[in-house]
């Protein structure tokens, strides 16, 4: 076959894009392990192995080339992002079921890479959160006394056999996340200032550990923008949306609504802004569309956090906006050269 122009190409590929994304995640992952123990790494290993195996099996069933698709790195990134949403103390079947479900139902049933309307990692997370709320909300306390802290072996034993070291129970290990505590305490009539001072795990910015994890993901994301792997539109718009609406309510009533800073650095905000909402396959593709998409996610996150049934809301906000993407893309097409804006 005669080659078609252009005849020169830069040295880029989906694989290099995906590997760069993984490198950008590393500071956040290390910080996460630092504060919440090695459980994340175990979850991540399970998710990666099960995720890649599921991907390979389905590609084989669909008679697609398995090796090429596995090397593109997309399944790897999905598995890592998915694992990052799980609590460290999750039993082994949580990451397993989640990633298998995500790969089969969110990715391949829609046609595989590039065809899925919903973010697979978020679909896996949402399914688990709804089905197994207890396991999915058992977050370790970032300030457990050293005596109680679980090592790698203990975490493995817990993950695979469901046993905790003698003398330790879940109550001693786990605690509500800052977002959860904030929501519950505001509901009980506490002021935001009191909650931030009195509740365990709270810090100046948001919560112990959480603020650092968010800062690391922010840095990783900024590096991705610098490397031109992602465009600034979605993260900037999403954070702006979140700041705008949280700032508005904070100005009106600082006692009953947490500050924009708290929202920016709590929960999965930065992971969501730079790594989840920017998933190219499921996000809007036009510049104006990306701004609308990001803004709406930011606003939805706040709405669900403040008045919804869940303490954090990245997954639901992203999934809801995934649905709107075809509509957004359709109405935000850029003006083509030689055409009037109106036509």
């Amino acid at each position: 076959m005669i080659a078609s122009s252009p005849h020169q190409h830069p040295d880029n590929s989906i694989t290099s894009v995906m590997l760069t994304v993984i490198v950008a995640l590393i500071p956040g992952i290390i910080t996460h392990v630092w504060f919440f123990g090695p459980g994340l790494l175990i979850n991540m290993c399970i998710a990666i192995v099960a995720g890649l195996a599921t991907e390979a099996a389905i590609l084989y069933l669909r008679k697609h080339p398995v090796k090429v698709a596995l090397y593109d790195g997309s399944a790897l990134v999905t598995a890592i992002l998915f694992a990052l949403t799980l609590p460290s103390l999750a039993p082994w079947w949580i990451p397993f079921i989640g990633i298998v479900f995500a790969m089969i139902f969110a990715k391949h049933l829609y046609g595989g890479l590039g065809q899925n309307p919903f973010n697979p990692a978020m679909v896996g997370y949402a399914m688990l959160l709804i089905s197994f709320p207890q396991e999915m909300t058992r977050w370790l306390s970032p300030e457990i006394p050293a005596a109680v802290s679980l090592g790698l072996i203990d975490t493995l034993r817990h993950s695979f056999m469901g046993v905790l070291p003698t003398g330790i129970n879940y109550d001693a290990l786990s605690m509500a996340t800052p977002l959860d505590a904030m929501k519950v305490q505001i509901g009980l009539g506490q002021t935001v200032a009191t909650i931030q001072q009195s509740q365990a795990g709270m810090s100046q910015l948001s919560g112990i550990g959480w603020e650092w994890i968010n800062i690391m993901f922010l840095l990783g994301g900024a590096w991705l923008i610098f490397r031109k792997i992602i465009s600034f539109h979605i993260p900037a718009a999403m954070l702006a949306g979140l700041v705008l609406i949280s700032g508005l309510f904070f100005l009106v009533s600082p006692d009953s609504y947490a500050s924009p800073l708290f929202h920016l650095f709590a929960g999965a905000t930065m992971l969501g802004a730079f790594f989840i909402a920017t998933d190219p396959v499921t996000a809007s593709t036009t510049p104006r569309g990306r701004i609308i998409y990001g803004l709406c996610i930011g606003i939805l996150i706040y709405v669900i956090r403040a008045w919804g049934g869940y303490p954090d809301a990245i997954a639901f906000a992203v999934l809801i906006m995934n649905m709107a993407v075809p509509l957004i893309d359709y109405y935000t097409q850029p003006r083509v050269y030689g055409h009037n804006r109106s036509s």
């Binding site: 122009s5 252009p6 020169q8 590039g114 593709t285 036009t286 055409h339």
Partner: protein, 519 residues
């Protein structure tokens, strides 16, 4: 010298690879033994040969022409004998064969005699100039090869700006840059002839800022009077600044409306090489029988700019530049972004051959398998027409051609920026060409079937009318007949009666005679 006033969306910063072919001055290629002149070199009607095998031709002799307006004749690039008129492979993306006139050169390179020159072209009318330019076989030498006399006829349109395209944004190609450096006076003369033909108010020469020598040469060449209406404008080096629509945007901040032409916004745009060809044709009387082209790429040892006779086999030129057959991975006519692959080195160079790029393995890179589109949108970021390439790809792949048109497929200039940046290595431009071809074919079929339907409908109508007319005629005839019959029956009766009377009378008479005879 001034800077660009507009900017276009997207574009790519590419390594230009131009320096290697600009080490030495333009040299004339040695005369080949055989010249192959395709009768179809560019858009427009194929030509009819005016010579036959065995004929002797002089250099510059007209050898093929067409009555069609959208065509440009060809001339013998050198003297010699016509050895054949047959199908040879021509430079075309499909690698197809077309009828070519083959000339065995005699080495004398002789002209038929004195050439018709117009040193004082100022006295010529626009129509006269257009005729000279058409007869010289001049087409756009920037790449597309559109017959120049058509672009030089703005008709009703008032031309405000004449643009000379010296941007030359494709990597590797440097022939326009060299021409601007070496022949600035000819370019300005050509520009003035073109200006006179289209009656343009001002002239802008757009050059990318990576060609300071060309900019300096042209600037120094202008005299004070010329400076009144000719401006040299540097544009940023950003592919595809040399695209007609992009350059117009850069120099005038005007956009050519979709599906219209530059004349619709009062602009005419020609390539600097075309300006030289125009000057040569009018002032020197030399038709378009040679052109300057860049021979370059990793597989040639001595990259250079060469003035070659049209019809010269590519191998002849590549060999002159030290082609290393072992290194050659892919031979491209044109640049690496928009050129197409040439499958046979026996293919001749034609009017639109601005570059022969002999790529080695390092330049082509490893063959890449296309992966699914991940909608990253990089293609939309770089698209100079501000299209949504991934959407176009989606619909083209699904063969939903209505949708591709809804996403403005025909505003795509096939610059290749989208394919270049695609991390999934999807040959996007290939899909767009496929969709465009399919739509145009559909359109042709539709027009054909529309015509057939119209013909059919008209036939039915005609038959119906004929039937009605026949019936009417029959009816009238019947009426007439009836009337006649009625009249006739009256007269007939009387005739019969008369006849009977006559018979009776006759009988009477006979009887009377018999009686008288008997008695």
């Amino acid at each position: 010298m001034t800077n660009a006033v507009g900017r276009f969306h997207g574009g790519l910063h590419l390594e230009d690879h131009k320096a290697c072919s600009m080490q030495s001055a333009i040299v004339a290629a040695p005369l080949p033994e055989q010249l192959i002149i395709p009768l179809l070199q560019h858009i427009g009607a194929p030509l009819e040969p005016l010579v036959k095998p065995g004929d002797h031709v002089f250099k510059g002799q007209l050898i093929a022409d067409s009555d069609a307006n959208l065509s440009a004749p060809v001339h013998a690039p050198s003297s010699g004998t016509i050895s054949a008129i047959e199908e040879r492979s021509i430079p075309h993306p499909s690698g197809r064969a077309e009828k070519c006139i083959v000339i065995e050169t005699d080495g004398k390179d002789e002209w038929p005699g004195d050439r018709q020159t117009y040193k004082n072209y100022q006295s010529l009318s626009a129509d006269q100039l257009r005729t000279i330019i058409r007869q010289a076989g001049i087409v756009g030498l920037g790449g597309a090869g559109f017959p120049s006399h058509i672009k030089l006829n703005p008709g009703q349109h008032q031309i405000n700006t004449l643009i000379l395209n010296g941007a030359e944004c494709e990597p590797y190609i440097s022939c326009d840059a060299m021409l601007m450096q070496e022949r600035p006076r000819d370019i300005i003369n050509g520009l003035k002839i073109i200006r006179q033909t289209v009656n343009a108010r001002q002239c802008l020469i757009g050059i990318e800022d990576n060609k300071p020598a060309a900019i300096a040469a042209l600037s120094n060449c202008l005299n004070d009077d010329e400076k009144q209406y000719i401006k040299i404008i540097t544009v940023p080096t950003l592919y595809p600044s040399g695209g007609e629509k992009q350059l117009i945007k850069l120099l005038t901040n005007l956009e050519v409306p979709s599906r219209q032409h530059p004349v619709d916004v009062g602009v005419v745009c020609h390539n600097v090489g075309t300006a030289i060809a125009v000057a040569d044709a009018v002032i020197e009387g030399i038709p378009l029988i040679s052109r300057t082209m860049t021979i370059t790429g990793g597989a040639v040892n001595k990259p250079a700019n060469i003035q070659s006779l049209l019809g010269t086999p590519m191998r002849h030129l590549l060999t002159a530049c030290g082609l290393d057959d072992h290194k050659l991975q892919r031979l491209i006519m044109g640049g690496p972004m928009m050129g197409f692959e040439i499958s046979s080195m026996d293919t001749p160079v034609i009017k639109t051959t601005n570059c022969l790029l002999a790529m080695d393995k390092q330049e082509t890179g490893e063959p890449q398998t296309a992966l699914p589109c991940i909608r990253c949108g990089e293609c939309a970021v770089v698209c100079p027409a501000q299209l949504l390439p991934q959407q176009l790809y989606w619909w083209a792949k699904a063969r939903d051609f209505d949708k591709t048109q809804e996403y403005n497929l025909f505003d795509c200039i096939e610059c290749g920026c989208c394919s270049y940046v695609c991390p999934s290595h999807i040959p996007l431009v290939h899909y767009y060409r496929f969709a465009k071809t399919a739509i145009l074919e559909e359109e042709r079929d539709r027009i054909k079937s529309d015509r057939a339907r119209d013909r059919h409908d008209f036939r039915l109508l005609r038959l119906e009318r004929k039937k009605q007319e026949d019936e009417e005629r029959k009816r009238k005839k019947k009426e007439l007949l009836k009337k006649v019959n009625d009249d006739k029956s009256d007269s007939k009766k009387s005739e019969i009666e008369a006849a009977l009377e006559r018979v009776k009378a006759k009988k009477q008479a006979t009887r009377e005679t018999e009686q008288s005879r008997d008695s």
